[in-house]
């Protein structure tokens, strides 16, 4: 039973996408081939049903309970296909499958006229299946398969419009240059930036997993004895292992300084952005960190190395969050703004989860529920953005009240999603954010009020740019192009998505598990933060744009692209040149220097042959004398 269920979860999306994939390979022009994506969505739906079954039928949903399912893989190495069904994976699985399904429905209309449907649906569903594999696997090697599947699929999807012929799929103002650098990115370049950044983190992660296997003899996250491991390798050792391992999540979840790929990942179809930014890919990084902390229980281990790692994650997360929020504030492209905001949220998730070292499991739960809330809201906003781009044929935030009238559902969904995500009391994210405030407040003994201050600052900016997004697109945008109708299926997608946010709100308010969230929400300090957030929201709503050099610099992402596109390539080219020079040196030595040296030596040796017996005899006499000297020396020693 369980085997079939698991098989259905991972295989059905892929199988569902095969008809359209093969049809496209054979003959993409037939109109019937354009109807086949329905099977792909059906595959996603089957996956969703299975995850729902797992959520509701695997016993009580409790933080301490988990169920493991093992299938033999490499028994000689103690490696098996191990799946885990616990608090995190059961909810995360449903979240992934549900969002993927809703986006799939939306995509049926959004991608209707695309020229590469086979490619799109195959990789879209592979993306989902890979994420589900990451979610449910307990074994690090199995997880790595899903992890690499995410990387591959994201590359394929970000570069979906590989012909680079449509200005609408670019990121940045086409033709713009800063210094020598082209400050705009095509889909194929975006895909390359994504895969190259991710591989940079995957390699150390892979080696870290190998080291963990070597030291612990086990790859199941829930079974590895981390305390013993950290004692075995010492503080520096465990720091290095965890740091190498976390480079995978850092790059996947686009933490500083690996954030650039996420911004240019917007060159892919909007559906891809929506999926990539809510439940898959970037969430995978934070999810893996949460899962690791969940079973590592760092609050029970006393190791300076582990503590150092968690401090690093905390501040890296908070600073990435602040950076992402600021960039989003300055950004004018719809999708890039949302991308930066995702980075910001991911930073908050990392920071909150890392606080578990001091606060305990509660911090992870807070981070996880923030992930859930954020996923639905962000998916909604992306789907709306996609609809807007479709309607206005513009990537930038433009549009006025007429657009709001024309796309009422989109307007309402945006209002709801921004309000729920920014943390305005008493809406959904407020309760999670309050709990987050509480967690950061706990760190006062360690770091003073710095974490809390960074969080509040980030929240304020966050809410401001969400309001700006709403205002510029529906209320006070500079102009708008006459929109054309349609988009019913698209509307259905984001309406369904956003309607889940009130449901989660009800869950927070009435489910006993969340009483701590509610308690935190009624604290004065939390209310004060809520007030600040509301204030910035209203200001931004009233005055969404402000021309300033600071804003422009933020909109250019503080020129971090230079690191990705200029400094690192320059290092690479330097390295390549070095290799080239050493190649030439080797060539010179092997083909010129050594042969000619031997040639000269050879001629030199033969030059003695003058034919003069006298010379030869003198030479022999010289050798004789030299040897007599040696003989005397040896004799004395002997």
């Amino acid at each position: 039973m369980i085997e079939l269920l698991l098989l259905a979860i991972f295989i059905s999306p892929v199988i569902g996408s095969l008809p359209v994939a093969f049809a496209w390979l054979l003959d993409p022009k037939r109109s019937w081939a354009r109807k086949l994506p329905i099977f792909a969505v059906l595959g996603l739906f089957i996956s969703l049903l299975c995850t729902l079954y797992i959520l509701f039928n695997f016993g009580e949903l409790d933080e301490r309970v988990y169920r493991q399912v093992k299938f033999e893989w490499l028994p000689g190495f103690n490696i098996s296909f191990t799946f885990i069904f616990d608090y995190l994976s059961r909810i995360m699985g449903v979240l992934t499958a549900l969002i993927a399904f809703l986006i799939g429905v939306y995509g049926l209309e959004y991608m209707k006229h695309d020229y590469r449907l086979g490619w799109y649906w195959f990789f879209f569903n592979l993306f989902t299946a890979s994420m589900l594999l990451v979610v449910y696997s307990d074994n690090l090697l199995l997880l790595l398969i899903g992890w690499e599947g995410l990387g591959l699929a994201s590359w394929a999807l970000i570069g979906h419009w590989f012909r680079d012929d449509d200005e609408m799929s670019f990121v940045g103002v086409v033709g713009r240059k800063i210094g020598k650098l082209n400050y705009f990115w095509s889909p194929s370049f975006g895909a390359w930036r994504a895969i190259s950044t991710i591989r940079l983190g995957d390699m150390p992660m892979f080696f870290a997993i190998a080291v963990i296997f070597f030291l612990a003899g086990n790859l199941n996250i829930s079974e590895i004895n981390w305390g013993e491991l950290s004692e075995k390798v010492g503080s520096v050792g465990i720091f290095l292992i965890l740091f190498a391992f976390l480079l995978g999540p850092f790059t996947k979840s686009a933490q500083l300084p690996f954030s650039e790929w996420l911004m240019t990942a917007m060159t892919g179809p909007t559906t891809v952005s929506a999926l990539l930014h809510s439940a898959t890919m970037v969430a995978a990084g934070t999810y893996v960190f949460m899962r690791l902390s969940w079973y590592m229980e760092p609050w029970n281990i006393h190791s300076a190395g582990i503590e150092a790692i968690y401090v690093l994650v905390l501040f890296l997360g908070l600073i990435s969050a602040l950076y992402g929020a600021s960039v989003a504030l300055g950004c004018l492209e719809r999708k890039v703004l949302l991308a930066a905001s995702t980075m910001s949220s991911l930073g908050l998730m990392f920071a909150t989860a890392s606080a578990s070292l001091w606060v305990g499991k509660f911090a992870i739960i807070v981070a996880f529920w923030y992930l859930v809330t954020h996923a639905f809201a962000k998916a909604t906003l992306f789907l709306v953005a996609g609809h807007l781009i479709h309607e206005t044929h513009n990537r930038f935030c433009v549009g006025g009240k007429e657009l709001a009238k024309h796309l009422k559902l989109a307007f309402i969904a945006t209002i709801l999603a921004t309000l729920c995500l920014s943390g305005i009391p008493p809406l959904t994210a407020y309760w999670v954010k309050s709990a987050m405030d509480g967690v950061m407040h706990h760190l006062e003994h360690e770091f003073g009020l710095i974490p809390l201050a960074l969080l509040v600052l980030t929240s304020a900016i966050y809410s401001a740019f969400l309001a700006k997004f709403l205002s510029l697109n529906f209320l006070k945008g500079e102009y708008h192009v006459k929109a054309h109708g349609g988009g019913r299926l698209m509307s259905l997608g984001y309406t369904a998505m956003v309607s889940l946010l009130p449901l989660i709100l009800l869950l927070y308010l009435y489910h006993p598990d969340f009483h701590e969230f509610v308690a935190e929400g009624f604290l004065n300090s939390s209310l004060a933060v809520g007030g600040i957030v509301l204030f910035t929201y209203l200001i931004a709503l009233y005055k969404p744009s402000l021309e300033s050099p600071v804003g422009r610099a933020l909109g250019d992402r503080l020129y971090l692209a230079f690191l990705n596109d200029y400094i690192i390539p320059a290092l690479g080219w330097t390295l390549a040149k070095l290799v080239d020079y050493s190649n030439r040196a080797i060539d010179f030595f092997c083909h010129r220097a050594i042969p000619s040296a031997f040639g000269l030596l050879s001629i030199g040796i033969r030059r003695i042959q003058s034919g003069s017996v006298e010379l030869y005899l003198r030479l022999s006499a010289a050798v004789l004398v030299a040897l007599v000297a040696i003989a005397v020396a040896l004799g004395v020693i002997g």
Binding site: F598, G599, L601, S602, I603, I605, R606, I608, Q609, G611, V613, L615, Y616, L617, L619, S620, V623, L624, L627, V628, I630, A631, V632, L634, G635, V636, I637, G638
Partner: protein, 401 residues
């Protein structure tokens, strides 16, 4: 011993009779050698080599001492065979002279006029070499008997210089390229083949008889000589276009390989057998190869035979040249002379281009029949080791008990 003296007498007689008719000498020499084939495995090979030498002398039968030359080769062969058997130092020294002197005459032999210049040059060096060799041996033995280390080392090094001059080990190889290039190829082929055995065997036996704990440090000097000889030989041959010069430097290099085997003298008995087997195989490769190549230079030979000789010199398995080097390297590695083994391997690599060039240069469109047969025979000898020559090591262990 009596048998040897008898052979020597017959050969002398044959030499005298050859003034009547050179064929008498030819027949008598060959007869003596065929009789000597019964002495055992290694002497048989020596006899075979001598027969090849005699037959190749038939190529220049119009020379001044035609007839006597056959008898002299026979003389050298008998002396070489006896050198394997005896271990009396006086006898060994006598045999050294017996092998050395006939070459004084042979080197001057030519079809036209006598090669006096070359002969004088050669004789000068050989006389010095013989003198040093004999003095060295006597001092070595004295130093050994009196347990005087200074005299021992002095004798050892004089012996080494004598040997080096006699066979052409660098840096005392200067006469070799000159003689090889200027003398008649056939007479050089005898100097380069049959004459090389006795000096090495005598030197090795003398050193083994007089071995003390001092020998170990003395062998270090010998190893250095060997390395120098390999390098000078191989690098010297690398760029020359003259086939006789290539073979001259090849001889210098090969003498270096053989000398390298000496450093295993102080090792365990098994290793010594391998070392001697390697040295002898290498000497045979050198001897047969030189006979083959000089005949090819003289009258031409088939290209296949030339390539087989060339590959054997380079040391490609399963040809004899491979096994010679292989046994030497084996002995070197296990007697803690790894560096010398590495140098030997490096030198084998350096030698590849010039041996291949040699084949290209000596290529003849219409080879002379006799030289072709001789070269082909030597090439066939290189194939003897298709059966891995553990049998050869056994032969050696029987001879050197």
């Amino acid at each position: 011993m009596i048998l040897v003296l008898l052979s020597l007498l017959i050969l002398t007689f044959a030499g005298i009779l050859s003034y009547k008719d050179y064929r008498i000498s030819l027949i008598l020499s060959l007869a003596v050698l065929f009789v000597s084939l019964e002495f055992g495995g290694i002497p048989a090979i020596i006899c075979f080599l001598a027969i090849l030498n005699i037959v190749s002398l038939a190529v220049i039968r119009g020379n001044q001492i035609s007839g006597v030359d056959y008898a002299m080769v026979g003389l050298m062969a008998i002396a070489t065979i006896y050198a394997f058997i005896t271990s009396d130092i006086a006898e060994l020294l006598a045999l050294f002279v017996v092998v050395s002197v006939p070459t004084y005459l042979l080197v001057m032999v030519d079809e036209g006029k006598l090669n006096v210049d070359t002969g004088i040059k050669y004789i000068t060096f050989m006389v010095i070499a013989t003198v040093l060799f004999i003095i060295g041996t006597v001092m070595l033995y004295s130093g050994y008997s009196w347990q005087n280390s200074a005299i021992y080392f002095f004798g050892f090094l004089l012996l080494l210089i004598g040997l080096a001059l006699e066979v052409g080990i660098a840096p005392l190889h200067e006469w070799v390229p000159d003689i090889f290039a200027n003398a008649n190829p056939i007479s050089v082929s005898i100097i380069a083949s049959l004459a090389k055995f006795v000096p090495f065997i005598v030197a090795m036996k003398v050193i083994m008889i007089t071995a003390t704990e001092l020998t170990t440090s003395a062998l270090l000097v010998l190893a250095v000589f060997s390395a120098i000889s390999m390098f000078i030989g191989n690098i010297g041959a690398l760029t020359t276009q003259n086939p006789a010069r290539i073979l001259a430097y090849s001889t210098v290099a090969n003498m270096g390989y053989v000398l390298a085997a000496f450093v295993a003298i102080m090792a365990s008995k098994d290793l010594v057998y391998y070392a001697i087997a390697g040295a002898l195989l290498q000497l045979f490769v050198n001897a047969f190869g030189k006979v083959g190549f000089f005949n090819a230079i003289k009258g031409g030979a088939s290209n296949v035979s030339n390539y087989i000789l060339c590959f054997s010199f380079i040391g490609i398995p399963p040809l004899m040249g491979f096994w010679g080097k292989f046994f030497i390297i084996y002995a070197l590695v296990f007697s803690n002379y790894l560096w010398l083994a590495i140098i030997l391997v490096l030198n084998s690599a350096i030698s590849v281009p010039y041996y291949l060039r040699l084949v290209r240069i000596t290529k003849a469109s219409t080879p002379d029949m006799l030289t072709n047969i001789l070269t082909t025979t030597t090439a066939v000898v290189m194939l003897v080791t298709l059966i891995p020559p553990t049998w050869f090591v056994e032969l050696v262990s029987e001879v050197f008990k």
